[in-house]
Amino acid sequence: MIVETGHYALVLALALALVNAILPLWGVLARDERLMGIAPSAALVQFVFVAYAFYALTYAHVVSDFSLVNVVENSHSAKPLVYKISGVWGNHEGSMLLWVLILTLFGAAVALSARRMPQDLHAVTLSMQSWISSAFLLFILLTSNPFARLASPPAQGNDLNPLLQDPGLAIHPPLLYLGYVGLSITFSFAAAALICGRLDAAWARFVRPWTLLAWTFLTLGIAMGSYWAYYTLGWGGFWFWDPVENASLMPWLAATALLHSAAVMEKREALKIWTIFLAILAFSLSLIGTFLDRSGVLTSVHAFASDPQRGLFILAILVFFIGGSFGLFAVRASGLKQGGLFAPISREGALVFNNLLLTTCCATVLVGTLYPLALEAMTGEKISVGAPFFNATFVPLFLPLFLAMPFGQILAWKRGDLLGAAQRLMIAIGAGLAAMLVFAAWQGRPAVAIGAAGLAVFVIIGSFVDLARRLFGGGAQAVWARLRGVPLSAFGAAFAHAGLGISLLGLAATGWGIEKITTMKVGDTLEIGPYSVVMESFSAGQGPNYSERVARTLIRSGGVDVATILPASRFYPVRNQSRTEAGIATLWLGQIYMSIGNMKDGSLDVRLYWKPLVALIWLGALVMGFGGMLSLADRRLRIGVARRARAAGPMPQPAE
């Protein structure tokens, strides 16, 4: 019964979405405030219905209702509860439902939190959001219904893919979706601004927290996914330039560019057309990513042919929204008046440079991802575009950003002084060069790793130079007073930039990694990097829905035990699949990584790595996310809060 009500709630949500797509827009055209007034409550109720549908599906998974196709295909009664819940979105139908849930969640959040916006802009934004949710609700109901029943239910399900039975599944997709579905709000804001003709600094200020929120989640989601791949796939890789990865990287690049150009628009009323373009582009790339993931064009051409309905449906959605929004953009944006002027060497100039490189990087990833598909479609010729291509194109385009980043933070608005900025950055430049010497002495070759590590230290120190000057410039006593004067968003920017530097340091250090592929017997000792690794025992065990073989392994340093790792190989009988579980010990910031393979005559195939500083890759992403959150908490960015007059009043809730 609950399942049927969930299905029904989804249909009601579609009806509401259609109403909300049309009426508020009509209200704006007819200047009827009552019609515009529908939008917030319709957005809220729409969210409630979708949330209920999501609850209903989760319920079916938790109680193992095997009369549902979706549950049979992806669950098993012996599966641990946490994977019964996360298994809800570990499949196409359920993850589309999560997609729409987050879409409507953002709609509801805007409905609640932006009441001080001009009413027409608010209503049209919610209407645009409902256009998107209508399309995707229709997609779910027509092609991917998670509530489909089976006439004769089996007694047991097929279990979830073992690779997905991992805490990563509980965290990674929700974070990633909050990020790239969250960009729908910036898209809706952009379309609304074009329709209402309200493209000004105030608009940039309304949009900023939403972009920041989506960007923060996207950053964390991508990092989480990369760590998940790192520890499950068993060979220590964490980024593969896979099309599905690229699909999440492209919106991140566009959103990063958007954050920066929106800052210029907010402060100086310049780059308006460009900012709107990026806002549309960022979500368009999310849609393209969804299409690439869902249609099957990437997995194999045959999957596309076997179920062309879904692919074609998403393609239609894609063409409608991307075509429609860029059409609107072409018609309305040309009439915009541009604002403040600036010299090439200035904060604005640096941000333009940032945008130029980020969008070129983004286009490179897009071209590299789609080119093989297009070439095969047109000429039938098959080529591969993999990591070596992106290393040769993307990396040289992205690296200059690190050089420019600290300069951009220091240059003044309108007209900057490059030489003065370089002088102020002397300490960062010095630290970077010193770091290169230290790393060269500590680890030595390869030169690329040394150079990149030096650059990373330059960025990390450089990110805080401006902040330090503002805090400590007037003597020690004044620091506290100055601390209150420096906006949180300045701290946020410093941390976000430093986070990227920290990640770069981790990436640079991969050049110093050591790999050993060999066989080990119980009792064997292997030297790797500064550690020695002793395999203590090899035993079989039993989990709730799998059996496993575990190699208990001790890590020693100078005769002292420092850690124990348990690399394992698990076998899931229901699906007849196995997966490796790497044993990882984080020692300082480096990691010992061990995964095991087959056992032959008492000797076990092992892959053992020493990866110095590798944890920094993901730690950097956490620092970036922390920076985003700090910036988000900046009171000045909250909509409708006057700057100083209300400072004494109760703290308003942060915009969600």
């Binding site: 049979v72 295909e73 979105w89 570990g90 499949n91 993850s95 006439a151 004769s152 089996p154 007694a155 097929n158 893919n161 690779l163 997905l164 997709p173 991508i222 990369s226 998940w228 791949a229 068993g234 890789g237 593969f240 330039w241 896979d242 599905v244 990865e245 699909a247 993931d293 099957g296 990437l298 997995t299 999957a303 076997s306 879904r310 541009q338 002027l341 130029l356 969008t359 070129t360 286009a363 490179t364 071209v367 080119y371 070439l375 000429t379 098959k382 080529i383 591969s384 575009v385 993999g386 291509f389 194109t393 993307f394 385009l397 592929i517 066989t519 007849n576 699949q577 393979g597 195939d605």
Partner: protein
């Protein structure tokens, strides 16, 4: 419908199903092979490694450039598939026979086509691919410089007041003085 038939029906769909998120795409190849009943072997295995470390290093760097053709964008160095293992062994055999890196790559391209190279060769069909990043960077940069120059020029000193405006200004100022 029996269990077995459900299982069979689901299998082709699973590939699309699990392509849901980024890293998951990596898993598809693995899942695919498990479904075919092939036991997954680890990527490079100890018994494949050549005794000569320099030759082995060359084999590894070559492997990283070669696509496992039944996988999704995975190099044979990373892949667990049996085909990848066969190719890794093939690469090592050719290296042992004293061939240069280029000779090994040429042999594999002749046999499997450009599809096997993860870094597509520069040729008429891929000119657009290889030049896209740099062309876009230059076009973007030039577009910005042009837009910037046009705007700086457009924003020169304001035009002088017309006779009518002068008169209007005079009356307004006059009103003010009075």
């Amino acid at each position: 419908m029996t269990m077995a038939s459900i299982g069979r029906l689901d299998r082709p769909r699973m590939e699309a199903t699990f392509s849901s998120r980024r890293t998951i795409g990596r898993f598809i190849a693995l899942v695919f092979f498990c479904l075919l009943g092939l036991a997954p072997a680890a990527a490079v295995q100890p018994d494949e490694i050549l005794p000569d470390p320099r030759l082995e290093a060359r084999a590894r760097s070559l492997s990283a450039q070669l696509r496992c053709m039944v996988c999704q964008n995975q190099s044979i160095d990373d892949s667990d598939a049996d085909l990848a293992r066969d190719l890794r062994l093939l690469v090592r055999e050719h290296l042992k026979a004293g061939e240069s890196d280029a000779q090994v790559l040429n042999f594999l391209v002749a046999r499997y086509g450009d599809f096997i190279l993860l870094k597509p060769p520069v040729k008429p069909e891929t000119i657009a691919l290889w030049s896209a990043p740099f062309v876009l960077l230059i076009v973007g940069g030039v577009a910005f410089v042009l837009a910037w120059r046009r705007r700086s020029r457009g924003a020169g000193p304001a035009p002088a007041l017309s006779a009518g405006e002068q008169a209007k200004l005079a009356t307004l100022l006059g009103q003010d003085e009075r």
